[in-house]
C-alpha cells in the first residue's frame, strides 16, 4: 500500500527536469503518511489498453461453462412466474392468500422490495457523480443495469394485483374511464404511476447514454461483421470526438443533477402510498426519508450480492478493488443505521403521540402474531450492518457477500412487516385476520428472481459490465498533467 501510494510522487521526481528549476526555488514535496493516501482506483498501474481488453474481453470471449445452465435455470423460473400470472389472471386473485383485511400482502411487498433495490443504480450513477466520488466508475454500469432489471420486476406486481388487469391501460394512462371520470390526481397511487414510470425511463436513458462510448469500443474491436453492425447501430456513430464529449459530459452532468431529486422522490412517493392513508402503522411522517434510506440500503446490498461473484469469476480485482467493496459496505452501514434509527423513532412516536391505535399497532408488530417477521427484520437490518464497523468484515469478500444477502432478506421482511402487520389488525376487532401465503404467492416471487437473473446474465453476456471509458478517465494515465499521462513536467 505504501509503495503504490508513493508511485505518483516518485515518478514525478524521476521524469521531472531537475535542471529546469534553480535550486533555491525547488519545492520539496514530501510523501504524505501512508495512512492518509487512498489506494488507487485501478490497482497495479494497469494501462488503458489493459482496461479495454479486460472488460471488453468478458463479452467478446465465450462465457464460462456455468453460464448456460444458469441462464436456462433463471429463464425457467421466469417462465414459471409468467405461467403463474396467467393462472392468476385466468382464475382471479383468490389464488393468492389475500383476504380482508389483508388486501395488500406479497404483491405490494414484492413491488416495494424490487423498487427499493432499484435505487442503488441511479444513486451510484447520479448522487455519487455529483459528489465527485470517482470510485463509482467501477460499479455504476452493473448497478444501473441491476436497477433497470429490478424496476422491470417491480413493475409486474402492481399491475397484476389489480385483478382485472385488462383494465390496466385505463387507470395507468391519464384518460377518462367509462363514466368519463378522469384519474384522481389527489391520490398518491397515481403519483406512484408517474414516479415509477419516469424513474424506469430516465434510468434506462441514463444507462444507455453511459453505454454509448463503450459500445463504440466494442464496435471497433468487433471480430466479425455481425458484431460490428450490431454494436455499431447502438453506438450511433460515436467516434470519441472532443466536440462531442463536450456536449456529452454536460448532458451527463445535467442528467445526474435531475436524477438525484428523482431518486429521492420515487421512494418518497412510494412511501406516500402508505403514509397518506389513515391506517395505524402507515400514517407516519417519517416514511419518506425512512423509505429512501431503506431503498439505498437494500440496493447496495443487491449490488454487492451481484458484484462480488462477478469480480471473482471474471478476475476484476484490479478494477473493483477492496476499497470499492469497503466503501459500499460503509454506505450499507450508514443507511442501515438510518433504518435502525427510523425503527426506534417509530416506536417512540407511537408512545409519545398518545394515540392508542398507533401504540397498539407497534406493540402488535413486535409481540403480536407476526413477531417472527418483525424480529427477523430487526436481526437482518439493525444488527447485521453494524458488523461493517470492523475492517475484517469489510475486507473479507465471502463475509460481505453473506451480509449483503442478509440485508436483502431483512429488507423484504421490512416491507412485509409494514404492510401485513399494519393491515391484519383493523380498528374493529371483528375484522381482524391473518395472512398466509399460498404456493402461487411464493413461486410468483421466486419467479421474479428468475426474471432478474435472466436479464442480468444477458447483460454480462452482451454488454461491458464496467464503464470502460469512465474507468479510464479516473486513471493517472488519463490526466495530461500527470507523469503517467505523459506530462514532461508535473504542473502541481
Amino acid at each position: 500500500m505504501a509503495k503504490s501510494a508513493s508511485v505518483p510522487l516518485s515518478a514525478q521526481a524521476a521524469t521531472g527536469h531537475a535542471h529546469s528549476h534553480p535550486p533555491a526555488k525547488t519545492v520539496v514535496l514530501e510523501d504524505p503518511p501512508a495512512a492518509l493516501v487512498n489506494p488507487p482506483l485501478v490497482l497495479n498501474n494497469r494501462s488503458l489498453g489493459w482496461i479495454t481488453n479486460k472488460i471488453a474481453g468478458i463479452c467478446e470471449n465465450p462465457m464460462p461453462a456455468w453460464w448456460l445452465p444458469a441462464f436456462i435455470g433463471s429463464a425457467g423460473l421466469m417462465g414459471l412466474m409468467y405461467a403463474l400470472i396467467a393462472y392468476l389472471v385466468a382464475t382471479g386473485v383468490g389464488v393468492w392468500g389475500l383476504n380482508n383485511p389483508v388486501a395488500w400482502a406479497w404483491d405490494i411487498t414484492n413491488f416495494v422490495f424490487w423498487i427499493g433495490i432499484g435505487h442503488a443504480g441511479t444513486l451510484i450513477s447520479a448522487v455519487l457523480f455529483l459528489l465527485r466520488q470517482k470510485w463509482r466508475t467501477s460499479i455504476n454500469r452493473a448497478a444501473e443495469a441491476m436497477t433497470l432489471f429490478a424496476v422491470a420486476c417491480a413493475g409486474i406486481f402492481p399491475v397484476i394485483h389489480v385483478g382485472r388487469i385488462w383494465y390496466a391501460p385505463l387507470f395507468l394512462a391519464p384518460i377518462p374511464n367509462s363514466n368519463m371520470i378522469w384519474p384522481q390526481f389527489r391520490s398518491p397511487l397515481l403519483w406512484d404511476v408517474f414516479a415509477v414510470s419516469t424513474y424506469g425511463t430516465v434510468s434506462l436513458l441514463f444507462w444507455y447514454v453511459g453505454l454509448i462510448p463503450d459500445l463504440a469500443t466494442l464496435r471497433d474491436r468487433a471480430s466479425n461483421r455481425i458484431r460490428a453492425i450490431a454494436y455499431g447501430i447502438f453506438a450511433l456513430g460515436w467516434r470519441g470526438s472532443n466536440r462531442h464529449w463536450r456536449n456529452y459530459e454536460k448532458a451527463y452532468l445535467i442528467l445526474a443533477g435531475i436524477s438525484t431529486p428523482l431518486v429521492l422522490s420515487v421512494h418518497s412517493i412510494v412511501s406516500f402510498d402508505f403514509a397518506v392513508s389513515v391506517v395505524p402503522g402507515w400514517h407516519t411522517t417519517i416514511f419518506p426519508p425512512y423509505f429512501v434510506a431503506g431503498a439505498i440500503f437494500s440496493g447496495f446490498g443487491m449490488v454487492l450480492t451481484l458484484m462480488i461473484p462477478m469480480r471473482t469469476i471474471f478476475k476484476l480485482e484490479d478494477v473493483i478493488t477492496e476499497r470499492h467493496v469497503g466503501l459500499m459496505c460503509k454506505v450499507i452501514l450508514a443507511t442501515g443505521s438510518m433504518v435502525g434509527y427510523a425503527y426506534g423513532m417509530e416506536f417512540f412516536i407511537a408512545w409519545y403521540g398518545g394515540s392508542p391505535y398507533e401504540l397498539y399497532a407497534f406493540k402488535n408488530r413486535a409481540f403480536g402474531p407476526y413477531w417472527w417477521a418483525y424480529w427477523s427484520m430487526i436481526t437482518c437490518n439493525v444488527i447485521s450492518p453494524h458488523l461493517f464497523w470492523f475492517k475484517w468484515c469489510r475486507k473479507t469478500m465471502w463475509f460481505v457477500w453473506l451480509v449483503s444477502i442478509v440485508v436483502n432478506i431483512g429488507m423484504w421482511f421490512e416491507r412485509f412487516v409494514i404492510i401485513v402487520t399494519s393491515l391484519h389488525r383493523d380498528y374493529l376487532p371483528a375484522s381482524w385476520g391473518y395472512f398466509t401465503p399460498t404456493w402461487v404467492d411464493v413461486f410468483t416471487f421466486v419467479g421474479s428472481f428468475g426474471q432478474f437473473m435472466t436479464l442480468f446474465l444477458l447483460f454480462i453476456r452482451f454488454l461491458p459490465v464496467i464503464a470502460i471509458s469512465e474507468v479510464k478517465g479516473v486513471t493517472p494515465q488519463a490526466d495530461p498533467h500527470h507523469p503517467l499521462g505523459g506530462a514532461k513536467e508535473a504542473h502541481h
Binding site: 368519463m180 408517474f194 462510448p213 472532443n242 456529452y248 459530459e249 436524477s259 479510464k472 495530461p480
Partner: protein, 177 residues
Amino acid sequence: MSSTPKPYGLLAEFDTAADIFEAAIRVRDAGYRRWDVFTPFPIHGMDDAMGLKNSPVGWFTFIGGFTGFFTGMTMIWYMNGFEYPLVVGGKPLFTPLFAFPVSYELTILLGAFGTIFGMFALNQLPRLHHPLFNSERFKRASDDRFFLCIEARDAKFSDARALLESAGAKAIELVED
C-alpha cells in the same frame, strides 16, 4: 462515382494524454477552425485547450423541463378542476400542491428527453458512417490512442502536416472522404 477520392483530412496519432493536450493547444494557437480531437475518454481541460465554449445542452434541458412542468399542471387542472370537477374528501378541485408530484416527475422526464435528444442533435448523431472510420488506425481511438484530425476544408490545411509533425505526432495519415 468520382474517380479521384477527395481527402477528408489529416489524421495524426498521439501516444499519451499529455501529447494530445499539448498538440491541441498548438493547433488552436495556429488558428485552425475545422479540426477535432478524438480520445477514448474525455480529457480534463481539453475544451479549453481546443478553445471550445460551454456546451449549450442546458437550454434543451430547460425547455424540456419547463414543458413537462407546464404540461403536468395544465393536465391536472383540466382533468380534475375543469373538465369533470368532482369533489373528493372535501379537498379543493385544484391546487398546485397535489398537482406537484406528478408535474415534478414530468419536469424530470421531459427534461431528460430534452437533454439527451439535445445532446444528440448538437453532436449530429446518430450517423451510420463517417470518413474517419475509413482509417484502420482510428479504431484505437476508442481504446488507448489519441487522435487529432485537421480537415481538408480548413483554410490553413496546406500547413497542417508540418504543424502536426512538429507537435510530436507518432503517425500521420491522409484520410479520404
